[in-house]
């Protein structure tokens, strides 16, 4: 009997030793004919690759490589530039006519024989199909609302398919203001003029989609093998949660200018592990669709002669702010709000806690957003300089009736559970203590429940006075910022900022065709939001803290999240092979 156990044990030992021995076998040497390969990583498994359903940066990044759009966003100015089409707009700003190029092709990657085959041309009908599909309520697209600009879009998307007959639904679909005038011309009719519409047209939700494939495979159409795409790269592998691989599309019209031939992307959810792999030489970049440099390593990277050269700080279209629930005392008093906003030393935060070269903020919209009055120093300039800020803060607070914070009631600052936010909150809590003499309590809440609690319709008693939030651009225009977030009817208006002049300004600016007038209107809006009412305290404009191996000689990164043009990147393959050989 006991020998049975003995055997089991001995067997176990043998197996384990064998595993170790096998592991020590020398690694297979790379073969000579390998394509120019880039090793990046994904921060999470993309929830979906269907452009109609995309919402996550990883999905958007993948969509950018796989699907072309009518327009694209310039890497530097973030303005709309032609991709599949050039466009003209009617005098009243309501009708856009897109003239498409005729050499874009749908391709299909055959997994079994590892080849890319041509399927057909990308036509205007595909654009129309794609747009209507996004708006179709049965698709369930989370970003469909950006297309409400298109005539009939909102009606279709808000319809309840269960309550309508087939014909009624079809009528709504047909009623959407986008049609194909011929195989390569798309005409879009808007509900009102919107100067930023070309930027919206670059978004993934409005891209041409392959109708035949989608109808054939249903929800499985995005799997490699079924997938039909038209962008500079094709998807060759998707092991969920583990790995994505891409290969250059030889039928892309600019294929001869695409230098990187293959992209490998393991899914790495832990940012410090990703950086360890980068330092070990197994990853070439720390950037979208993966993580940037982890905060604790910033000092070491800056101090290291080699690593600091690989560091690259790029803008990102997001703002971090603390909002005030303006209906909750004592923050219903604008002076109190201004005091607390002024007492935040953004620069110290950036230098000591964030370390990512971020910029202190004094407007809601960040640089790069069309219409953002970042250079206008009449908007709360004291937010940018703590010396002035501290003095003004104490002034405001005293004027509000709480000199040195005497008699100030207990106040709560809340943020969702996250280490980063916790650090910032605690640092700012200390700043308020030092600069105002006020003690604020910090509470945390789980993300989904947090957002639910902040909704304008949720009961005020459950809310804190101060809440932390950030906003990132869906498209780079103030309409998406002050317009979408703080108008009185918005469900994002957690600060409960109800200002008639503000509402009027953003409403008018939406359709305004004269660009100067438009900018002035948004300037006024920001003045009202920040300088006069301080409904929120902007803290900093985000940056991307990226690293790129030296053998990546060209690596443009777009400020709009996920919109990275890998086809424009250049990798020195000899240098990379040499570097790997040494590692």
């Amino acid at each position: 009997m006991s020998s049975k156990l003995r055997w089991v044990w001995v067997l176990g030992v043998i197996v384990l030793v064998a595993m170790v021995v096998v592991a020590c076998a020398p690694a297979a040497a790379p073969t000579a004919e390998e394509p120019i390969t880039l090793d990046l990583h994904f921060g999470t498994d993309p929830p979906t690759l269907d452009p109609a359903l995309g919402s996550d940066t990883t999905s958007i990044w993948a969509d950018e490589q796989l699907y072309l759009a009518l327009t694209d966003l310039d890497d530097v100015t973030v303005e709309a530039i032609p991709e599949l089409a050039t466009w003209e707009v009617s005098a009243d700003g309501l009708v856009y006519t897109f003239s498409m190029r005729d050499d874009a092709k749908w391709v299909h990657y055959d997994i079994r024989i590892d080849t890319v085959e041509e399927v057909g041309p990308v036509t205007a009908h595909d654009v129309v199909y794609g747009t209507k599909r996004t708006l179709d309520p049965r698709t369930g697209s989370p970003y469909a609302y950006v297309l409400y600009l298109i005539e009939g879009g909102e009606d279709l998307n808000t319809a309840d398919p269960d309550e309508l007959s087939e014909e009624e639904l079809q009528a709504l679909i047909d009623g959407v203001g986008i049609k194909a005038l011929d195989d390569y011309t798309v005409e879009v009719t808007l509900t009102q003029s919107a100067a930023f519409f070309p930027a919206v047209a670059s978004m993934w939700v409005m891209r041409p989609m392959p109708q035949a494939t989608i109808e054939e495979f249903g929800e499985d159409w995005v799997m490699p093998g079924n997938l039909v795409s038209n962008g500079p790269y094709v998807l060759t592998e998707w092991s969920h949660g583990a790995m994505l691989r891409f290969k250059k599309n030889p039928y892309y019209y600019d294929a001869d200018q695409v230098q990187i031939e293959a992209i490998n992307g393991p899914v790495i959810m832990e940012t410090s592990t990703a950086f360890a792999l980068y330092e070990a030489g197994e990853l070439d970049i720390m950037a979208d669709p993966g993580w940037g440099v982890p905060l604790p390593d910033m000092d070491r990277v800056r101090a290291d002669p080699a690593l600091s050269k690989e560091l690259s700080i790029e803008p990102r279209l997001c703002t971090y702010y603390y909002g005030f629930v303006t209906t909750k005392p004592p923050f219903d008093n604008v002076l109190v709000r201004k005091a607390f906003a002024a007492a935040i030393d953004s620069q110290a935060l950036i230098d000591n806690v964030l370390k990512g070269g971020q910029l202190p903020a004094h407007t809601f919209a960040c640089p790069g957003i069309w219409g953002a009055p970042v250079d206008d120093m009449t908007i709360a300039p004291y937010l940018l300089d703590i010396a002035e800020g501290k003095a003004k803060a104490q002034e405001f607070l005293a004027e509000a009736g709480y000199p040195n914070c005497e008699g100030f009631p207990e106040v709560i600052l809340m943020h969702n559970i996250s280490e980063g936010h916790a650090l910032i909150a605690q640092a700012i809590q200390e700043m308020w203590r030092e600069n105002l003499g006020c003690t604020v309590k910090i509470e945390t809440m789980e993300w989904s429940a947090y957002l639910n609690m902040l909704l304008p319709d949720s009961p005020d008693e459950d809310k804190p006075q101060i809440y932390r939030l950030g906003w990132c651009a869906d498209y780079p225009d103030e309409a998406n910022w002050v317009g979408d977030v703080f108008n009185s009817k918005s469900t994002q208006n957690y600060a409960k900022f109800f200002n008639d002049e503000f509402d009027a300004a953003v409403e008018e600016a939406l359709g305004e065709q004269d660009l100067e007038k438009r900018a002035a209107l948004y300037n006024r809006a920001e003045h009202l939001l920040i300088d006069e009412n301080m409904a929120i305290a902007p803290i900093y404009y985000y940056t991307r803290v990226n690293m790129f191996k030296p053998y990546l000689t060209e690596h443009p990164v777009n400020p709009a999240g996920g919109t990275v043009h890998m086809d424009k990147w250049v990798l020195d393959w000899e240098a990379k092979k040499a570097a790997l050989g040494l590692e």
Binding site: D297, D299, L349, V353, A427, E446, Y450, E461
Partner: protein, 318 residues
């Protein structure tokens, strides 16, 4: 005769000891267990005297000093907000020990009551109660703990909550987020304790002294409280001590996924979670809490083992 007497007198005399004394003696022979016990007492003292001996408070930040290495200003270095790691480690003892003790106590109380009842009454009652335990045993504890924590964290400051909920929420906030952790952990770990308590009850139920008590006319309450409970308490407490390292580690895990205590309350779990990313650049951030956690877990392990070695053979012999 005289020879026999002298022979008897020459035999070493074995000292009289009570079962508890005997157990204690056994325990002291286990040197590591003794060292562990002393360590734990030291920890308790440190926790109680935290305000006095810590060079800094656990919440004061000095953002300029972020990640400062160990030196004269901060003995164990500073963390990412410039808070003293030594002080926070010391205050962290409070969290870890209170989680350990509270969760253990909750688990012990519920488990013993349940197990005693089930074991004593036997028959149908026992069957039903044990089926329930089997069912709960199959619950993936972690998932339920996480669900509970998420639920509690989502309650937030529901002012609309009345009565008990409001009270619990207030208490939890006052304790820096600890109360709900206690409930979540303790409420699920009593199951193992219940089984043990029941097993012990069953083995004592048939003993002579219990029979005797019944014969004399002592009612069930009396039997349970005066005869069964004192006897099973020993092994149960010992068993619970062995669970304590698990509770401490569970709290660290919850902190890692963001469901632990509220900042700035320092728990070793949160400190490790804040520090593990810095292991490549500033390893000192991890040193304090990791070392403290490891030592405490080791100490409870050894002490628990020692207690069990000491008690078991004695108890079985009764």
């Amino acid at each position: 005769m005289a020879v026999a007497e002298r022979a008897v007198a020459a035999l070493p005399v074995r000292r009289e000891r009570s079962p508890w004394g005997d157990a204690f003696y056994q325990l002291t022979r286990n040197r590591v267990a003794v060292v562990s016990g002393i360590l734990i007492i030291v920890l308790v003292l440190l926790a109680l005297l935290a305000d006095v001996i810590s060079p800094y408070t656990y919440y004061e930040t000095r953002v300029i000093d972020n990640y400062m290495r160990p030196g004269s200003k901060y003995l164990l270095g500073a963390d990412t907000l410039g808070r003293d790691i030594l002080s926070r480690t010391i205050y962290g003892i409070r969290v870890s020990l209170s989680v350990a003790v509270m969760a253990a106590t909750v688990s012990l109380i519920i488990g013993i009551i349940y197990g005693l009842t089930s074991g004593y009454f036997g028959g149908r009652v026992d069957e039903v109660m044990m089926r329930l335990v089997d069912f709960l045993y199959g619950l993936p504890v972690i998932i339920v703990v996480i669900l509970l924590q998420v639920y509690f964290k989502a309650l937030g400051r529901r002012a609309a909550a009345t009565g008990l909920s409001a009270l619990l929420i207030k208490a939890d906030l006052a304790m820096g987020g600890l109360l709900f952790i206690f409930i979540a952990i303790g409420a699920l770990n009593w199951i193992g304790m219940a089984r043990i308590a029941r097993g012990q009850t069953l083995s004592y139920k048939e003993k002579d002294f219990v029979m005797a008590a019944r014969a004399v006319g002592v009612g069930p309450i009396g039997i349970i409280f005066r005869h069964l409970l004192p006897n099973i308490l020993g092994p149960c407490v010992v068993q619970e001590t062995l669970q304590i390292p698990g509770y401490i580690l569970l709290e660290a895990f919850l902190s890692f996924i963001g469901l632990g205590v509220n900042p700035p309350t320092p728990s070793w779990g949160i400190m490790i979670q804040e520090g593990y990313q810095a292991i490549r650049s500033y390893p000192h951030v991890l040193l304090g809490p990791a070392l403290a956690l490891t030592l405490t877990v080791l100490a409870f392990n050894f002490l628990g083992d020692g207690l069990r070695d000491a008690f078991d053979p004695v108890m079985r012999g009764t």
